[in-house]
Symmetry: none
């Protein structure tokens, strides 16, 4: 691999501008560690001048070691009319004690006169003074050329002068920003090329936003035009529509163009890193996220599934394991028998396509789909279905009875209560619980009753609950499908139930969730896991 | 505006390949209507050969009229070794009775030999025969050149021969597909240009997938290279990482490049259309979706918010109202007041922006949104909210008490029963009912109790019921939002309720539905309707 680019991650700085994102110091430390393990080049970790919590973070992070990444503190050029050394923000930048600082300055004449309210000359001095002050104190200075592309389109001379001011001040890197996120790949390529040709001694970096849905493509086209650093956030979140998604950029450049972004052996950490950062950020990782989403290699159409089984590259642009992801076959009325069979074989390798059990499972699957089930996304219920039809199953408990009472007006702490009676072996167990609504009350009561027999269930938490009304025309009498995702801290599994009664549909998915956990625990014992 | 491109929406066909997507016939009819109102050129609505439900859909949709869009049925070229007229899938395509049919065929030699298991010659005949058979029966034939780009990169002669076979067979349009979704904008542009130059008499269309996160950019670059039709799905969902997101493509092309995609006056429907399609598909529309997401014009950084207030274009790539979206300032009191006010004035024209009632409604609305309400699709609940805060409301009944019992095992005809007691004036009414589940039982009992006083309610039917779990992480204790659509045969109205108890959320939406009906009946009397 001849060429390489630097990856500059701003998840902790520009990413924190995303709606609903809020990092604690602990969150930030954990994300720095994940990004460093993956091997990004720079981590822009905060804005110490505008956020006092960030100074505390920099103090703590500087006590730890990193393998690959250099830390960057972010701030703005000095305010108009004062000296750099008198600007509190710039003093805060130095106090962050990072090897690299990124300072942003105005490159669009409109912003200088209309927003900052100063002259073009003073703006150029602000850029040069700030870079030179920081460079003089031993910092490597990256100049973030704010609104560079919009500015260049309206006044290319002034935009280029701003870059020259940064260069004169000693900046090592010019980061060209599409701050408003509306530029097109062809514009980005043309303008980046002009800058790279004009500043051959400096690193040219690209910083894009996704307001036109093209942040990744814009970054890639800038690299092709001469940029050698890409700024973005690891999951693509950030102000408004977000920043360029670095997990996509890294995979695209390294796998498709042979341009090194992170150590080759770390590419397979990409999916796990994305999922860990989503977890720390308290976000659901988008299923359809390129490369790292759970649907990125999920095949639904029967013909696609058949093709992939014959020859993976027929319907996969890369082998999923390259980025640490995995292939999945979704079950649906349009998916073929071959995909179903490959799942059956995973659970029960002795079965062939012609075994009577295979035919029975395929038929049962179709019947259940007609009743409103959908196993696409509920692999664990599908595994139980296979087990129930091949003898590899025994029930872990028997329901004797449940009764739920919802009422209004009611005790404000709980709008419903449930009583559940189960039998395990010879023993009967009655348990009552209250909850927010009938399903929550039933969930609490059932799990309390079964924990008496199966203490391992106390580790199980439900992490997602979805309700889909299938044929809205029957209104409150319509069929609903419930999907429940559970975890025991080690595994995550999803189960499904369908019924015209939301309580019953939830009950079915809940029972599957519990049985699946108990079966996997038994399997672990047998396999010595 | 000189140039235009055709917009070919495949939400109902390729979109249905997305994980977790499952459309009922009613859902599909509703989406066709939304897309037609927006003004797309073609709606690819199903695959009648592989999905028998789709034939039923085509029968129903052909009974309705459309303003803009032509319907397309999708299928494959004939199977190897048989005649087109003997292929059941092709007969199903004709039976769908659409003006346009899209047939896909193999353009990558690898697929022909390894997946189809036939010769390159037979594959070319399959393409030509199928196009010519369908064109001979009066269909306008679009040829979907599957894996065109990957095929062209490995064997350009064969890929081009496949297109020539379609042309010979009478195809009117060549849709170049990046089926595996891994191509780059520069490759897409180069190859599309070669095709557009070789087939100047035919429409060249671009069909991209998002496995590299660049489906939108790839579509745009293809249009710049000569494509005059873009295929995609309206929210970008589809197989694996999804298809090109048409809501982004349309806005990009029409607003930034002056290329007409939909009638100019309909651009402002873009956001409402995206939200309605998400609602019908039971998906959460991604907040960060370009142009139409709720964060697309949300400003968090203080400096950005200040800049936008001085001069919107300083931090917004387009004015949000152009696409029917709105600007928001996060964590601020002034968000959306103008938008809310325009709704308030519709119900209560005497109010001004400064009336104390206006401030009260805006505050109440914010509180309710924090509790999980969303009034976007529930205008009737919003009207009631305005009425309750301006004195234009009186309650039609008082709930004394309800109690619902769900149990299992149970009478198979009804898994729940409800008792409701209401007061109207001085009169008390107690009513009991059974139902499929707690919500259905409550619905039956409440309406039976109120019909004693308001016989007009016997005409009301609930026609849709949707449940949306808002924060899945709290599992069965999560907040849910319930949307109910009702009709009395003359009007259709939608109401909303939110709670962590699905029964309570349904109750709130149900009460709004009934009150709205009674208020509209009273209005009709006053206005002499």
């Amino acid at each position: 691999m001849e060429r390489s680019v630097e990856i500059f991650d701003s998840t902790l700085r520009d990413g924190a501008q995303g709606e609903g994102i809020s990092f604690s110091v602990e969150d930030k430390l954990a994300i720095v560690q994940k990004l460093d393990e993956l091997g990004v080049t720079f981590i822009e970790a905060g804005n110490p001048g505008s956020n006092p919590k960030d100074l505390e973070f920099f103090r703590r992070v500087n006590e730890t070691q990193r393998k690959h990444a250099q830390l960057v503190a972010f701030g703005s050029t000095r305010r108009k009319g004062i000296k750099a050394e008198d600007d509190g923000n710039i003093r805060a930048l130095l106090a962050a004690d990072t090897p690299v600082v990124a300072v942003f300055g105005k490159c669009w004449d409109l912003h200088v006169t209309q927003i900052l309210g100063t002259t073009l000359e003073e703006n150029l001095s602000m850029i040069e003074d700030t870079c030179s002050y920081l460079a003089g104190r031993g910092k490597r200075v990256f100049f973030d050329a704010e609104h560079f592309f919009d500015g260049y389109k309206e006044n290319p001379e002034f935009a280029m002068e701003a870059l020259r001011a940064a260069q004169k001040g000693g900046a090592a890197c010019l980061a060209l920003c599409d701050t408003n996120g509306g530029c097109f790949p062809d514009e980005i390529a043309r303008i980046t090329k002009a800058v790279a040709e004009a500043f051959p001694e400096l690193t040219v970096s690209i910083h894009t936003h996704n307001d036109g849905g093209m942040a990744v493509a814009n970054s890639i086209m800038a690299v092709e035009a001469g940029a050698s650093q890409v700024q973005g956030t690891f999951l693509g979140f950030g102000e408004r529509c977000g920043n360029a998604n670095l997990s996509t950029v890294v995979a695209n450049l390294q796998l498709k163009r042979g341009i090194r972004c992170i150590p080759e052996e770390n590419l397979k950490l990409l999916t796990a890193t994305a999922r860990a950062i989503a977890e720390i950020s308290n976000l659901m990782l988008n299923k359809t996220e390129p490369y790292v989403g759970s649907s990125a290699f999920a095949h639904k159409a029967g013909m696609h599934a058949d093709g992939v089984m014959k020859l993976p590259r027929s319907f996969e642009h890369i082998p999923p394991e390259t980025v640490g992801n995995e292939r999945r076959f979704l079950m649906s009325e349009i998916s073929g028998k071959a995909a179903v069979f490959s799942k059956i074989q995973k659970v029960c390798p002795r079965l062939t396509k012609d075994s009577p059990e295979t035919g029975r499972i395929v038929k049962k699957l179709k019947d259940l789909e007609n009743e409103g089930y959908q196993f696409d996304g509920a692999d664990s219920s599908f595994e139980l279905l296979i087990r129930k039809n091949t003898g590899a199953y025994r029930p872990f408990f028997e329901l004797i009875h449940y009764q739920i009472i919802s009422s209004r007006p009611t005790d404000p702490s709980a709008s419903a209560s449930a009583v559940v009676k189960v039998r395990v072996g010879e023993k009967l167990q009655l348990m009552a619980a209250e909850g927010n609504g009938p399903v929550n009350a039933l969930d609490q009561a059932l799990r309390a009753a079964l924990e008496v027999f199966y203490p391992a269930l106390s580790k199980v938490r439900l992490i997602d609950y979805k309700v889909r009304v299938m044929d809205g025309k029957n209104a409150t009498g319509a069929k609903v499908r419930v999907l429940i995702s559970s975890t025991d801290g080690r595994r995550v599994w999803t189960t499904v139930g369908a019924s015209s009664d939301v309580v019953e549909a939830s009950w079915i998915a809940l029972v599957d969730s519990i049985e699946y956990k108990l079966i996997k625990d038994a399997e672990d014992i047998l396999l010595g896991n």
